[in-house]
């Protein structure tokens, strides 16, 4: 329903514009003929004003500027029907001229807010009255038949004036007109000069347009006083008519510049990367908006206060802001950040929203990243703790086996040895054989128990150190293996255990899968890391993603903050390389 009404409105306006813009082209209406280029310029100005007005109304429905632009555009051609034959049309044209001038002035004066406060209503009234006086003089005292070459329709409202008074009036009024335009131009220029950063984007083009219009108006009034005629007058009229487009085009340029600034701000967040520093963000925003005074303060939950870029507390935002405006950003009702900026930025709510979005994204991103980092650190720490706890548990089990079952079996073995010694020489040989078997069995049990205990935790690692422990692995390897080990001192227990398990698992893989003829193990301290490398000359093609062996190894290595690389091209052997940080000994 709403959309239909909007469409109907737009269609009506466009039809009216088509009709209105046809007038200067098809109707000889003015005492001062514009010439064909001037007539087309008037039609074009009509369309530009109406269309830009519709765009403006669409962008900011609550702002009257769009409506004013549309009205002034629609009125402009009608305002030039001074040469009609009907007296009523002439009067209407004069009034419409005042409306077009008044709305045009309102746009230039109140842009961009559309608010008519302060001296604005007086200024607009002055424009309207000036135009009214000018047109009244034209309607009553102008004789086109005498003044315009080739014009045949007499002015139906013509009143023959006393030429002396008329000349004096025209001179005084011309001077007044020039002064009035000069004051308006001066006011526009001053306003332009005072524009600060972000406001320049949208307001400057409109002011420039209005200045162009004032300049061509001055030329036209000057030409009238000087009595310019012929093709020079045609050129002046053409230029003046064309300058009606200047304000709406300026408005359009402003919209585009703001749009560009907004997308520049959107790009900023991307350009600045994942976590721009607040200072970096501030600089980028200040540059994009042309507002060097822009500052961003962030809310600190710990301080329960805003803090500035230097980390200092900001007790009062208003004091910190000074002449600047404050835009507060909140999330779930809690403060997130505040932007201190040129108040002119507030004239463009869209731009404020863009800046706010950029800051919010950055701050939120920063917080999320901090939260993820904290979580990751916690997960890493807990993984390290789990590995350490598991290692401790394995050591305990190994010791329990050593102190318990193993000691019992040792005692049993010794007892059997004693029993064999106690046998009389005449004893039953079968008994002797049975005891010998028992001795063999108990030793086998001891050996198996040792193997089991070593699998749980290699006592050699804590008793003798990493190098002998790895040497014992190399000695038991399934293929001939060379060892190059240089570990000058003891390392943190988790690092030694991890290095041991890497070699143990890798050598087991060599035996099981690699179909290798030989292997090589290198252990060395390089800088702050213990580097363990196991390479073979087998079939390669080991997939770190498949199976639990390499995956589990990687988990263990990463638990101590290290990295594990697997280089295994098909047919060219496998190299597994673990780098374990030695300093601290635990995960980051």
């Amino acid at each position: 329903m709403k959309i239909d009404r909007r469409r109907a409105f737009i269609a009506t306006v466009l039809l009216a514009t088509a009709a209105s813009s046809a007038i200067p082209i098809f109707v000889d209406g003015w005492w001062l003929d514009l010439g064909m280029p001037g007539r087309f310029a008037l039609a074009a100005a009509c369309w530009v004003s109406v269309l830009v007005g519709l765009i403006a109304r669409d962008r900011r429905p609550g702002n009257p500027i769009g409506m004013w632009l549309t009205i002034s555009g629609l009125c402009a051609p009608l305002a030039y029907l001074t040469g009609a034959e009907s007296p009523l049309l002439i009067v209407i044209s004069a009034l419409v001229f005042c409306v077009a001038a008044g709305t045009g002035a309102a746009v230039s004066i109140s842009f961009p807010t559309g608010r008519l406060d302060g001296k604005a209503p007086t200024a607009i009234a002055a424009v309207v009255v000036t135009c009214l006086v000018y047109r009244t003089r034209q309607v009553l005292f102008f004789d086109p038949v005498k003044s315009v070459p080739g014009w045949t329709h007499p002015n139906p409202l013509f009143v023959a004036p006393d030429p002396t008074y008329l000349n004096v009036f025209d001179f005084v009024y011309g001077v007044f007109g020039v002064a009035f335009l000069a004051v308006f131009g001066f006011w526009l220029a001053r306003r332009w000069r005072r524009l600060s950063g972000p406001a320049r984007l949208s307001i400057a083009p409109v002011l420039a347009g209005a200045l162009v219009f004032v300049a061509t108006s001055l030329v036209q009034v000057g030409a009238g006083i000087a009595g310019v005629h012929g093709s020079a007058l045609d050129a002046v009229l053409f230029g003046h008519t064309l300058s009606f487009c200047a304000v709406p085009l300026g408005f359009l340029a402003g919209l585009l510049r703001v749009k560009i600034a907004r997308s520049a701000i959107a790009d900023l967040v991307v350009e600045l990367g994942e976590t721009p520093e607040p200072a970096q963000l501030r600089r980028a925003l200040a540059t994009a908006l042309g507002d060097p005074s822009l500052a961003v303060v962030l809310w600190s939950a710990e301080e329960a206060s805003f803090v500035d870029a230097g980390g200092a507390r900001v007790t009062s935002l208003d004091d910190a802001a000074g002449a600047r405006a404050v835009t507060l950003l909140e999330r779930d009702g809690k403060p997130l950040a505040a932007i201190l900026h040129d108040p002119a930025l507030l004239d463009d709510p869209g731009l404020v929203a863009s800046v706010a979005t950029a800051v919010r994204l950055t701050v939120e991103n920063d917080r999320l990243q901090a939260a993820v980092r904290a979580q990751l650190a916690e997960v890493r720490a807990s993984r390290t703790r789990i590995v350490e706890a598991t290692d401790a548990e394995r050591r305990r089990v190994e010791r329990d086996i050593h102190d318990g079952a193993q000691q019992r079996l040792v005692a049993l073995s010794l007892a059997i040895g004693r029993a064999r010694g106690q046998l009389a020489p005449t004893a039953d040989p079968e008994l002797e054989a049975t005891l010998a078997q028992a001795s063999v069995e108990v030793r086998a049990a001891l050996t198996e128990l040792r193997e089991l205990a070593r699998g749980i935790h290699p006592a050699i690692l804590s008793e003798a150190g990493l190098e002998p422990a790895i040497r014992s692995l190399v000695d038991r390897a399934a293929v001939p293996t060379e060892l190059k080990a240089e570990v000058p001192h003891r390392l943190p227990a988790p690092v030694e255990a991890t290095a041991y398990f890497v070699v143990s698992e890798a050598l087991a893989n060599v035996g099981k899968h690699a179909r290798a003829d030989s292997a090589c193990v290198t252990v060395a301290v390089e800088g702050d890391s213990l580097v363990v490398e196991i390479s073979d000359d087998g079939c390669g093609d080991a997939d770190p993603g498949r199976g639990t062996g390499l995956r589990g190894l990687r988990d263990r290595v990463e638990a101590v903050g290290g990295t594990l690389e697997t280089i295994s091209p098909a047919g060219s052997g496998t190299t597994i390389r673990a780098s374990l940080p030695v300093t601290g000994g635990t995960a980051k």
Partner: protein
């Protein structure tokens, strides 16, 4: 035959070792359950041989051997353990140790052989 001090925190081992060694002609002068009492007993009893377990509750066997070696007329130290010699790597090559014998290998003759070979015995395999 020799006089022996047995040092081990496991009673079952001390019992079996004493019986075995005594049956095979050695004289077991005493038993100690930890490192400090071993050093004390070695001083007072002056045994020729100390059969010393490596894993003790206070000092480990290597440290006890080192301290015993500093005393005058120090005994011959034979380390023992229920773990394999390889577990201890090059630490067994110390000059204060006459040798290492796995617990289940213990016998009077084995001990006598080690002692006869004297200190600086070759360590375990590299």
């Amino acid at each position: 035959m020799s006089t022996v001090l047995i040092v081990d925190d496991h009673a079952s081992f001390r019992l079996q070792a004493r019986a075995l060694l005594e049956a095979q002609g050695h004289v077991v002068m005493g038993e100690a359950v930890d490192g400090f009492s071993a050093i004390e007993l070695a001083r007072s009893l002056r045994p020729e041989i100390v059969l010393l377990d490596i894993g003790l509750p206070d000092l480990d066997g290597f440290e006890v051997a080192r301290q015993l070696a500093t005393a005058e007329g120090s005994p011959i130290v034979v380390l023992t353990s229920s773990r394999e010699a390889a577990t201890y790597g090059s630490r067994l090559a110390s000059s204060t140790i006459a040798g290492f014998i796995a617990k289940e290998e213990l016998s009077g003759p084995a001990l006598a052989t080690l002692v006869a070979r004297g200190p600086q015995s070759p360590g375990p395999r590299p």
